[in-house]
């Protein structure tokens, strides 16, 4: 190895050249996202496997689009707000960052509310007990909703994390880490809207 220049250090004084900081949490979040991605891929694959060669499937009764699209807009706006918050953290504007993350939590709750309305309307024609289509439809969307709930809890947790001095556990990494998770949950909803809502509506005609 090429040795770095070692700054002289004495016990009690942390003047070494390496900062006390690391990306472990962020890396762990990437592994969590990888495995969650695989989870949703399995669910989507099950959706298509079950729908293969079916005489009655989503095409006969495509789910209504309006709620899903509004929810998509809501979720995407939450990601935008959170992204702005991340930039605030980088510039050490922690107050605006906390406001941004709280706002994201609020928008996430609106999403869940809309999901409730969507389910209520959908329930009239389709339940998880109707047939295999109903089962997989509700499992995919409720798995996503569970991830939204988890995301909201994580964001709310980081929103109230105490801010320590600049060297020990600054809120920067946790913020970045949970934001990454939230963007991922967003991304999954884009795929759900495309595969479970838009495609059946396009094929229906």
């Amino acid at each position: 190895m090429s040795p770095t220049v070692y700054a002289p250090s004495h016990h009690g004084e942390t003047t070494r050249q390496w900062p006390i900081e690391d990306h472990r949490g962020l890396y762990a979040m990437y592994t969590v996202i990888a495995t969650e991605l695989s989870l949703f891929i399995c669910l989507f694959a099950s959706y298509y496997y079950l729908g293969n060669n079916k005489d009655r499937w989503a095409i006969d009764r495509p789910p209504k689009l309006h709620f899903a699209l509004i929810m998509l807009a809501v979720l995407l706006s939450s990601s935008a707000v959170l992204r702005w918050g991340e930039l605030q953290v980088k510039r050490a504007r922690y107050r605006s960052a906390r406001i941004a993350i709280s706002l994201t939590v609020a928008i996430g709750l609106v999403f869940l509310l809309l999901q409730g309305f969507e389910y209520k309307e959908h329930w009239k024609t389709l339940t998880p007990w109707s047939d295999s289509y109903g089962s997989i439809f509700y499992v995919i969307t409720s798995f996503h909703a569970a991830h939204v709930i988890m995301g909201i809890l994580l964001l709310a947790y980081v929103a109230v994390l105490p801010q320590y001095g600049p060297t020990v556990a600054p809120p920067y990494r946790p913020y970045q880490t949970v934001a990454l998770y939230w963007h991922f949950v967003d991304l999954v909803w884009i795929f759900i809207v495309a595969l479970l809502y838009v495609v059946p509506n396009m094929q229906a005609h």
């Binding site: 190895m1 040795p3 770095t4 070692y6 002289p8 250090s9 016990h11 009690g12 942390t14 070494r16 390496w18 900062p19 006390i20 900081e21 690391d22 990306h23 472990r24 890396y27 762990a28 592994t31 969590v32 990888a34 495995t35 969650e36 695989s38 989870l39 891929i41 399995c42 669910l43 694959a45 099950s46 496997y49 079950l50 079916k54 009655r56 499937w57 998880p128 007990w129 109707s130 047939d131 295999s132 289509y133 109903g134 089962s135 997989i136 499992v139 809890l153 947790y157 994390l161 105490p162 320590y164 060297t167 020990v168 556990a169």
Partner: protein
Amino acid sequence: MASATAEQRLTTLWERPHTIYGWLATVDHKDLGIRYLFTAFCFLLVGGLEALAMRIQLARADHNFLTPEMYDQIFSMHGITMIFWYAAPILSGFSVYLVPLMIGARDMAFPRLNAFTYWTYLFSGILLYVAPAIGQAPHAGWFSYVPYTDVRYSPGLGMDFYALSLIFLTISTTGGASNFIVTILRLRAPGMAISRMPLFLYSTLTISFVILFALPALTVACVFLELDRRWGTHFFDIVAGGIPTLWQQLFWFFGHPWVYIIFLPATGMISLIIPVFSRRPIVGYPYVAVSTILTGVVGFSVWLHHMFTVGMSDLAMSFFSAGSMTISLFTTVTVFAWIATLWKGRPVPTTSMYFALGSVALLVIGGLSGVFTGIIPVDWQAHNTYYVVAHIHYVLIGSNLFPVFAGFYYWLPKMTGRMMSERLGKWSFWIMFVGFNVGFFPMHIVGLLGMPRRIYTYGSGLGLQPMNEVMTVGAFVLGIGILISMINLMISVRSGKLAGKNPWNSDGLEWETDSPPQSYATVHIPTVTTRHPLWDDHDEEADPEDDRLLDEARLTLTTSWLDARPLSVATMPGDTLLPLISAATMFGIFCFLIFQLLWPALALTAATLVMFGIWMWPKPMKGEL
């Protein structure tokens, strides 16, 4: 140079209290690794006793030692225990103990997660064994095909225990995989570039990624099964549009990569042991490393070969048949690298080497019968016969049990500080090797003669009894061989010779530490300049400025993932009971779910989340910073 005070400071920082609290709250990877090994070995013994019960039943035609129902439960528990609660966790045990020492880190990247994954592993195993304790064990084999496992054909709670304890276990395994990935990519000693990593780390890293991508399929399958059984959905119910083979697709998409998860780390151990006892570096290091990674990748494109008899398009069958044969190429590269290493080296006949070489022999036999079953017409003939049972046992015992014993004889002196008896070890090896072959080789023949697997008995007119008697004797001999090694360990712990730092004159960084290692491993974080740190002239711990002493708090060094340049100092958590408590509340969640008590389960979920919240809350650290 290390001063006595530095060692004392490090000990105060890292040593856990020697009390019951300290025992339960420890996050030390050395404690946890040994617990993993011990727990997994207990599961091996339980699964082994189940196997012996089956062999007694099968020793006679039309035997009545076990009822058909008991036989179904015992062969299912045997498979589930061995595949899920022994084979992978015992390798995790080696990895948890060895990975931080091999990379010169003071602990895993997430020590508390490490404790949490151990406790969840233990509790999920306890959950599984509640099932036979209340007389309702799973009874559909380790892969539990629907519709047989549907609630109509399998009433009772057995399959619910199966589904939920497996979901519980996937949480543990996924957490462990995440931990290994971050540990190996971020905490390697300065200079241990990715091209200098011990091959065992390549295996661990590869299977950790495989776990991330393969395990969700099992989770999804088990969720579907449980929802179908108890909550009225129709995933597998043909009448309402479900498809039973959906279970098979999901299960094997997980299941075949899992075979590599319990196989690759074991080959990684052999790739360390054979060179050390051949007294030379391994031949073809980069080829072995790349083969390891490719095995993990191609392992995702072979799963349909478990389903050739289900009925599918010729294209799919050809593709997966080709995939199954391609994957044997990578193992072949590794095996030839081992043989070349032996050929070019000066082999030392230690017990560990015996087990490593025995494993290579068994692996080759098992691999070849795997190539046969990868050929579609042969597979149709051999499907669900004892031929397949012979194949899986040659592969799994050859690539898991024998390497694990090689690993025990190689690394236990590091863990206990005392040598094991070579004489008893070699007796144990030969008895196990002969017992295994006597017990399992005839299965190829009875399988080709048409003896089906998973049937509790066979007719007396079929002429199968003599070979079954031989197999039963072989199985017991194998058990005696294992027993001898256990006695060997007990004697060694009491009165074995002291091992010293590096009894085998090995090359890896783990041999730089004391035997057993200090709680902080090495006084200075080592630096590495070659693939064989202890065989070169470089002094790993040379650190005149005390820069890599890191004795202000629980600290370790993080480095860049590719070339291991030092980047920053990472803080490490202290001992805590939270992993144990949150694993226990999770155990409660799954218990309630088995009995469909939704509200108590939700309440405990909330409690678990609160635990996690307390866990992650920033707190002042032990030491001064």
